[in-house]
């Protein structure tokens, strides 16, 4: 379980906090969703949770222990991040990349990876350079690799952005299976509330660096507030 407790962060030179006294929890076996408008700080929160950034105040705890530089490498073996453009070498084939990177993850499951690729419809692409993949295929490859590492938790930064409905469906199926079959915890950020509301267990609403609302999806989406949330999402969707 990852727990962010009162974390704040601002980028160098800025007077305003991008993330301001924020707390949230990501648990195994659950799909959590972070929703908010562009620029509200969602990506920053995810990077803080992953350890790419260090909070100015507050801390991230992993199974009760504070995350720090010394424990980062071990932490990253159990937690994956999706949404980083540099996760692989785009001039090499997927096969080469997996061969290179699997050394770093003893728990990498090659069979499961091949199965995921097949399920995602890119099973025949492992001898192609990753740079030649379409956006959707690249996202699927990244997610497949992340899931095949058998992490306890996966943090995803807008994995569904700019994808057509077919790709979105494939990806959401992969994520659902990972949660239900492998007890993985997933935290993803998105503004596509409609697509994820049926599969997410917990929702965090973010605004101007703060969590304004959080709770079970049934609590949040089943009333007038839920309608408001959908409206926010639609507004974002049409502007984004």
């Amino acid at each position: 379980m990852i727990e962010a407790k009162n974390i704040s962060f601002k980028y160098g030179g800025n007077s305003k906090f991008k993330v301001d006294d924020l707390s949230l929890t990501v648990e195994e076996g659950m799909m959590s969703c972070l929703i908010g408008k562009n620029g509200c700080g969602k990506t920053t929160v995810l990077k803080l949770l992953y350890g790419m950034l260090t909070p100015a105040s507050g801390a991230v705890y992993v199974d009760g222990k504070k995350l720090c530089g010394k424990t980062l490498a071990e932490y990253h073996e159990n937690v994956a991040f999706v949404g980083d453009n540099n996760w692989c070498d785009k001039d090499r084939t997927l096969e080469h990349n997996v061969e290179l990177l699997s050394f770093l993850y003893p728990s990498f499951d090659r069979e499961y990876f091949d199965k995921l690729l097949k399920k995602a419809g890119i099973g025949d692409k492992d001898d192609k350079t990753v740079g030649s993949f379409s956006t959707g295929e690249a996202v699927k490859a990244e997610i497949s690799f992340a899931l095949a590492r058998r992490p306890k938790l996966v943090i995803m930064d807008e994995p569904l952005a700019n994808l057509d409905p077919v790709y979105k469906t494939d990806i959401l199926e992969l994520l659902q299976d990972a949660v239900s079959e492998n007890n993985m915890g997933i935290l993803l950020s998105t503004h596509l509330l409609d697509e994820i509301e049926d599969i997410t267990d917990k929702i965090y609403i973010m605004e101007k660096g703060k969590i304004t609302k959080s709770g079970d999806r049934f609590e949040l989406l089943g009333d007038d507030e839920g309608t408001k949330l959908r409206d926010i999402a639609k507004e974002k969707d049409s502007s984004g």
Partner: protein, 406 residues
């Protein structure tokens, strides 16, 4: 650690096609020409500087071999093979993954030890058989012990900088300074290597051109004033090394600027080369035991010692020794120019230009041709502190002769 060892082995396998500077390091050290006079004095400076440069290059290449997994943006054939790829991608890639930096660099550190041991043993053997002076061995030995770990540490520092999550200002500034110094040192080393290669190339070409018609058993030396040639070539060289080291860049505009810089570099190098070749062939001075041939823009004037009206021995602005002859036709000529090609007979007869000048002044005095010695204080200082005793001997003779001449 085992995971990192396997990863280290895998990267090594990927980069096996690179030319191993490690092999070149050891081979170059083993085949470095040693001084024929047994004391190592004459080549001591060259040996010391060359070996330190080689050690630095080998250490850098060794580290790059294990932190390099991709082809560069600009594949330039032999240079790609020698200098490898743009290694920034490795750090960027590892930033996204659980990479145990500490363990990996520990493996790199320990991996260097066999090469360091071989080099130290080689230096010890040279010293044991008295093939090289003790003071000459010391600096390369120190360099072998100190430089490779420093290079690895600096690279680890840079690696951590790119991977680090804690970007506090003080830490960033310090790391930035270290990385800049490392980058500058690396560029300087590349530039020096290129200059040395160019120099060797020039010498090979000009020797043939300039010394054509002069037998090796003839006592002769050809002097050339290179003018701005070397400066232009060096500037071009540094720019070229920067481009090769950093590639042509990513964005279109960036690429255009770098391509323009590359063209400028090549123009500078070619211009410098052209000037030097022109000077070597069409503007040179050939010194012989009893004559001086002066070629100006292709026209040759031969002067014997009887054509000399007077002479002057002095120190140039950069405190180097100079002798100038004034001829009866009103012209004058400085004899010791920027670079020279000597026959073996010249080298056998004269240890240095001090000794040549001493003999020349003696012959001129015998003919009743007077000259003057200037800048004695400067020349005395050079002679007493920097010169080989044989050069100093030559200068003392000049001092006595010019006084006697007065």
């Amino acid at each position: 650690m085992n995971k990192m060892k396997r990863f280290h082995k895998y990267i090594s396998k990927l980069n096996r096609e690179r030319i191993g500077w490690i092999i070149i390091w050891i081979t170059a050290m083993l085949s470095m020409p040693l001084n024929g006079n047994g004391s190592g004095e004459d080549l001591s400076g060259m040996f010391t500087v060359s070996s330190i440069i080689l050690i630095f290059i080998a250490a850098m290449d060794y580290v790059d071999k294990y932190l390099d997994i991709d082809e560069p943006d600009w594949d330039c054939g032999i240079f790609t093979a020698i200098y490898g790829g743009m290694n920034g991608r490795f750090e960027i890639l590892m930033h996204s993954h659980s990479f145990d930096t500490g363990s990996y660099f520990k493996i790199l550190m320990t991996g260097m030890i066999p090469m360091q041991i071989i080099t130290i043993v080689y230096l010890a053997v040279l010293r044991f058989f008295d093939l090289i002076a003790a003071d000459v061995v010391v600096f390369p030995a120190l360099a072998t012990v100190l430089i490779p770990p420093v290079v690895v540490l600096l690279r680890a520092f840079r690696f951590q900088y790119l991977l680090m999550h804690d970007r506090s200002t003080g830490s960033l500034v310090l790391r930035g300074i270290v990385i800049s110094l490392y980058g500058m040192a690396r560029l300087l080393i590349f530039a020096i290597v290129f200059i040395l290669m160019m120099f060797i190339g020039f010498s090979a070409i000009t020797q043939d051109l300039v010394m054509r018609g002069i037998a090796d058993n003839e006592v002769a030396s050809s002097m050339v004033s290179s003018g701005p040639a070397f400066i232009l070539a060096i500037i071009g060289d540094i720019i070229l090394c920067y481009i090769i080291n950093n590639g042509l860049g990513g964005g279109k505009r960036h690429r255009k600027l770098r391509v323009a810089a590359l063209i400028c570099a090549l123009v500078l190098i070619l211009t410098g080369t052209g000037i030097y070749l022109y000077q070597s062939v069409y503007n040179n001075v050939i010194l012989r035991e009893d004559s001086v041939s002066v070629r100006r823009n292709g026209n040759i004037t031969e002067y014997t010692l009887d054509d000399v009206q007077s002479y002057r021995v002095y120190a140039e602005r950069n405190e180097s020794f100079q002798i100038e002859l004034y001829f009866k036709d009103g012209k004058s000529q400085r004899l010791i120019l920027d670079s020279s090609e000597d026959t073996n007979a010249w080298r056998d007869k004269y240890f240095s230009y001090y000794n040549y000048a001493a003999e020349l002044v003696q012959k001129l005095n015998e003919r009743g041709i007077n000259g003057r010695l200037e800048d004695q204080a400067v020349l005395n200082k050079i002679v007493s502190t920097n010169l080989d005793p044989r050069c100093a001997e030559g200068y003392r003779i000049i001092e006595q002769l010019t006084e006697a001449g007065h």
